[in-house]
């Protein structure tokens, strides 16, 4: 299968690979996917508690090139956004930006799930109620 140039670029030069302190209450961590499915994505956000702005984002992904590119791009988009704006990131925006073919849409869904899981982790650490997202069929 041929990958788009953008996928290849993110795969070759991934942005924001790394780890934030998951114990900190200013960090939200989302770990989604499963090794058996061939994709595991961990996405973390660092939030400025005063402003609600995401000041840093990191990821680590076990998966194909599209999964790596989806998570790399997601971290790029997260930085500088408020938590409320970040919730609105839609997987189809990732699909469009990376030109993902239909068989790779699940990679973008995983990235969106990871963002939401990270936000909920941050919210629960700070005594905020969990956001409820629609169940999706992957």
């Amino acid at each position: 299968m041929a990958y788009s140039d953008k996928v290849i670029d993110h795969y070759s030069n991934p942005k924001n690979v790394g780890t934030l302190d998951k114990a900190s209450n200013t960090v939200g961590t989302g770990l989604v996917g499963a090794p058996e499915c061939g994709d595991v994505m961990r996405l973390q956000i660092q939030v400025d508690n005063a402003t609600g702005i995401i000041t840093d984002a990191k990821f680590k992904t076990f998966g194909c090139g599209s999964a790596i590119a989806s998570s790399s791009l997601a971290t790029e988009w997260l930085k500088g956004k408020s938590v409320d704006e970040a919730v609105k990131i839609d997987n189809m925006d990732l699909v469009e930006e990376l030109n993902l073919p239909p068989v790779k849409i699940h990679c973008s869904v995983l990235a969106e799930d990871a963002i939401k899981a990270a936000i909920n982790d941050y919210r629960s650490k700070n005594g905020l109620e969990q956001l409820v997202f629609e169940e999706r069929i992957h």
Partner: protein, 405 residues
């Protein structure tokens, strides 16, 4: 100067040997006759060429030329061999024994026959990929007409104990069919010594052309017959109708002759390169070689690089190196290789595997390049892998409740 890309997918197909192409060319233009045309010299020339190829191919596997039935390839051979026996020997029984790591052309043929009333036993393989002979013995029934176990596996290269398998089949009055597409031309195959009754193989896996294969059908001790699956002019002793692919057959014959003459030298050289590649990659932590290393084709190595995903791994070098992965991230089911799963590998290891298939034109320089490219990519992706980080922190990944999709 190293020329890229490097081809390391020889279990999938092989390039044609230039000597084969040279032998074929006249049979497209000057000697274009139909081998079944008995009344003129064009037909005679074609028939003569086919007969010669039949001898070359028979010689490679220790058969009589009359026992070679030309087909379009091994998929057709597997269909004809298995369905043909099922129909021909219906009065003797309806039970077939095969195993879970067979090629789809065998498994799906068996499934098709199940719908028509066949009973099929799918033997599981041991963790090293070999079948358990005791389990085979125990599966035999009075109604067993066929044992269909491959000679060597296409994904992991393990070579089944064919002599022992054929002896068990014979003892119970069943025929032994072998899909030998990966073995013929690569390792010595002798249908008499191996006790094989029916065997399929193909030209394009041994540096011959695509679109031509053969089914060996034993004529003595016992005399085996298969019911034709393609009806028509009664070619190939009535077992496979259709005008013979004369240039393809000529190429197949030449490829068989070269394989027979060059096998010892090729094997020595290629297995050394394979071992060099495997030993260098095994140095990487948490790397596992799949399949029994002592009973394996000389040119194949299947390795799992734990905590990195196969397709993502290939992306690191697939511009420059062509090989296959057991991962199936692109397939709708997202299911990894059923062969690796049949060995009892977890899905994670199956997703993390690469198959290296070396060949006649593989050079040491190509192997050195591959070692560096694969090692670099594995290390880079592990730095990016959350599973690797957890493993390094001593977290038991199997104990985590993953949200399954």
């Amino acid at each position: 100067m190293l020329k890229l890309p490097i081809y390391l997918d020889h279990n999938s197909t092989t390039p044609m040997d230039p000597r084969v192409l040279e032998a074929m060319i006249p049979y497209f233009t000057e000697n274009f006759g139909n081998a079944a045309s008995r009344n003129h010299s064009f037909g005679w020339h074609a028939e003569e060429a086919v007969d010669y190829a039949r001898e070359q191919i028979a010689q490679l596997i220790g058969a009589d030329p009359k026992e070679i039935i030309f087909t379009s390839g091994a998929t057709e051979g597997n269909n004809l061999g298995i369905k043909g026996v099922y129909e021909m020997y219906a009065s003797k029984g309806n039970h077939i024994i095969t195993c879970t790591t067979e090629h789809k052309a065998v498994l799906d043929t068996c499934k098709h026959l199940e719908k028509l009333g066949a009973e099929v036993t799918y033997l599981e393989v041991q963790p090293d990929g070999l079948i358990d002979l005791k389990a085979l013995e125990a599966a035999m029934r009075p109604t067993t007409i066929l044992v269909a176990i491959m000679y060597a596996n296409n994904e992991i290269g393990v070579i089944q104990p064919v002599k022992e398998i054929s002896a068990i089949a014979k003892k119970h009055g069943a025929l032994y069919f072998s899909d030998a597409v990966q073995a013929v031309g690569k390792i010595p195959v002798d249908v008499i010594a191996d006790g094989i009754d029916i065997m399929s193989f193909t030209a394009h896996k041994m540096y011959g052309p695509k679109g031509v294969g053969a089914l060996y059908v034993r004529r003595k001790n016992p005399r085996v017959k298969v019911t034709a699956q393609i009806d028509g002019g009664g070619h190939e002793r009535g077992m496979r109708s259709g005008t013979l692919n004369v240039p393809g057959i000529v190429g197949f014959g030449k490829a068989a002759e070269i394989a027979r003459l060059d096998m010892a030298g090729d094997t020595e050289r290629i297995s050394k390169l394979r071992d060099k590649l495997e030993n260098a990659l095994k140095v990487i932590d948490e790397t596992y070689v799949n399949g029994n290393p002592a009973h394996r084709l000389p040119h194949v190595s299947n390795i799992s690089f734990k905590y990195v995903e196969g397709e993502g791994l290939m992306m690191g070098f697939n511009k420059d190196i062509a090989l296959s992965s057991g991962s199936a991230c692109t397939s709708a089911s997202l299911e990894p290789s059923y062969v690796l799963k049949a060995l009892g590998l977890g899905d994670d290891l199956a997703h993390s595997s690469l198959r290296f298939g070396l060949g006649r034109y593989t050079t040491e320089e190509q192997i050195d390049y591959t070692i560096t490219a694969v090692t670099d990519t594995v290390l880079k992706l592990r730095e990016m892998s959350p599973l690797w980080e957890m493993f390094k922190e001593g977290i038991d990944i199997d104990a985590i409740q993953w949200a399954h999709h």
